[in-house]
Symmetry: C2
Subunit: 370 residues, 2 copies
Amino acid sequence: MTHYYLYHAEDLRKYMTEVLYKSGYTLEDSQIAADVLLSADLRGVESHGIIRLFPYYSYRLRKGIINPRPNLRILTETPASLALDADNGLGHPTAYRAMKMCIEKARQSGVAMATVRNSNHYGIAGYYAMMALENDMIGISYTNSRPHQVATYGRIPVLGTNPIAVAVPAQNQRPYVLDMATSIVPVGKITVYERAGKEIPLGWGTDSTGTPTTDPGKVFPGGGALMPLGGTDIMRGYKGYGLALMVDIFAGVLAGSSFGLNVDPEKPEGSKIGHFFAAMRIDAFRPVEEFKRDMDTLISQIKESPKALGKDRIYIHGEKEFEAAEDHLQHGVPLMSEVVESLKQDGRELGVEFNLQPVGEKEVSELYSD
Amino acid sequence: MTHYYLYHAEDLRKYMTEVLYKSGYTLEDSQIAADVLLSADLRGVESHGIIRLFPYYSYRLRKGIINPRPNLRILTETPASLALDADNGLGHPTAYRAMKMCIEKARQSGVAMATVRNSNHYGIAGYYAMMALENDMIGISYTNSRPHQVATYGRIPVLGTNPIAVAVPAQNQRPYVLDMATSIVPVGKITVYERAGKEIPLGWGTDSTGTPTTDPGKVFPGGGALMPLGGTDIMRGYKGYGLALMVDIFAGVLAGSSFGLNVDPEKPEGSKIGHFFAAMRIDAFRPVEEFKRDMDTLISQIKESPKALGKDRIYIHGEKEFEAAEDHLQHGVPLMSEVVESLKQDGRELGVEFNLQPVGEKEVSELYSD
């Protein structure tokens, strides 16, 4: 069982902004990054929230790995495309501004795409895709990341967990928000099983010979790797591998950033990862009202279709996360007690004490989300 | 074992063109469709090649389900987008022309996207994505199709096998060509196992209660359904389900075509399926030479990385198909003897005799591609 403290979302936002600002980012950049991190914790994606505040964003800035005053500049543009250089700035404000520009281009030209090179970890991919929603647009967001996945028939990690995010508005139904790693599970899920002494399903990861294993310790730290969506060969893992490779092509190669084995966030000059964004005006294709009405129909058709034996609900992508956010806004955002301890220690060192008052606590099984 | 006859590619092209023309399509439409069908057989995707010539394209035209003289028209356009109505024409020439227009738009605006409504089955999705390659562009092609896949936790098929195709040029390496159904396997693969009396891997399909089964007969014709890429819940089948849904949103809802449960190719008024295309000029983002050099590097990094125990080669997407096409151009295109029998019978009925001389024959295990 894992123990959680619950905190007011706005308290966390204020704290994260202060930490980032005190670390050396501009106030505006700190506010944007805090909003993205909070959004992850609100939506239940705790692996991408406040847990990364100090180790990723504060520490790397102070170590000189991330540029606190980047000059985000346009390398080349057409009526419907933009190629940007992030100048090794923090990923969140970079991605936020890139998607803003992409949306403006789409407003003019119907659709638009943007690449970003020389950036850093940008948090949850879905945040930027969702920026399109309020503009009656479809949004897309990819990023590459350090190698953790094997190629099908490969032995060493050559591709990151390279996520794909797509957000589409509906009328009365909640938006469709796909936000998925192209590996089956993240690294953290393997280590949770390893700590719990539990076997992993065959296909989640390989051992150091590239062979699928049920022993999580043989994956990490045993020199193995994650397997792509699909998993083993007979389950068509090469499709997940193909999607991970596509993300590296769009966010890495097309952006002119690092890709494949070259992605290394520990490099002193920064990780140089890349992002890819797209925005599509719905009314460039058909009237928005018609589109949203049909989205509602499609979503209802699926949700109201007969359920599998023993199941009582079919979910649309993003639905669980919207419900989590509503719950967390009302009852507090859960942070693991270990995370709270780290925040207290790291905060003290930086001179920004984490002394927020929890609004409650709860116990949750670590494996509950499987 | 399955017996195959081998035929000259150009003989097959000529025959297919004649059948389509004699069935009532224009000569130009017949030529385009024959090229797409031949491309499938050449690339080893025999499920989408000549096997569909009579039952799909000839029969449906003669039955009045497909319009032989469609007026493909633009519904709405912006500098970077196009929405088209196929007027219930044959899918291949429709998709070919839509992608052509999309490529022209991208030439002007950097990137472009096109939707098509009221179309019919267009063959292999990859064909249209690959049209971008010779223009130094990246190409994307999606289509929706009749429901065969369950949603995660669902009992009945609500989504088609909805393929995703992406084609990207390289320099000395072959292009990256992903062309994948979002289900793990197609319907035909289940029936091959059923005929062979062999169990399917758990996760390929569900029985009529929505429960994953290893009995192929419980899937088809047992009232079950295909499962999305990933398969079962613990293997993150909801990601494949999310990709299948994304394709239905782009090719169905955004196009203003049929979607979800409404897709029914047997309807007398046609299947009204939809397509989605995108074309991206590489030099809208960075110089083409730099991009292609980096594509070669990424592909080499992966292909030359250490192999899993017992494996001697890592493939890039499209590579096996390019090699198959080279082999088939040189040694002949393999057609199952049953398919040849059908062609002879259907050809006689239409008055276009299939009397091509095979250039060879071979025996292959039906399960060889697993």
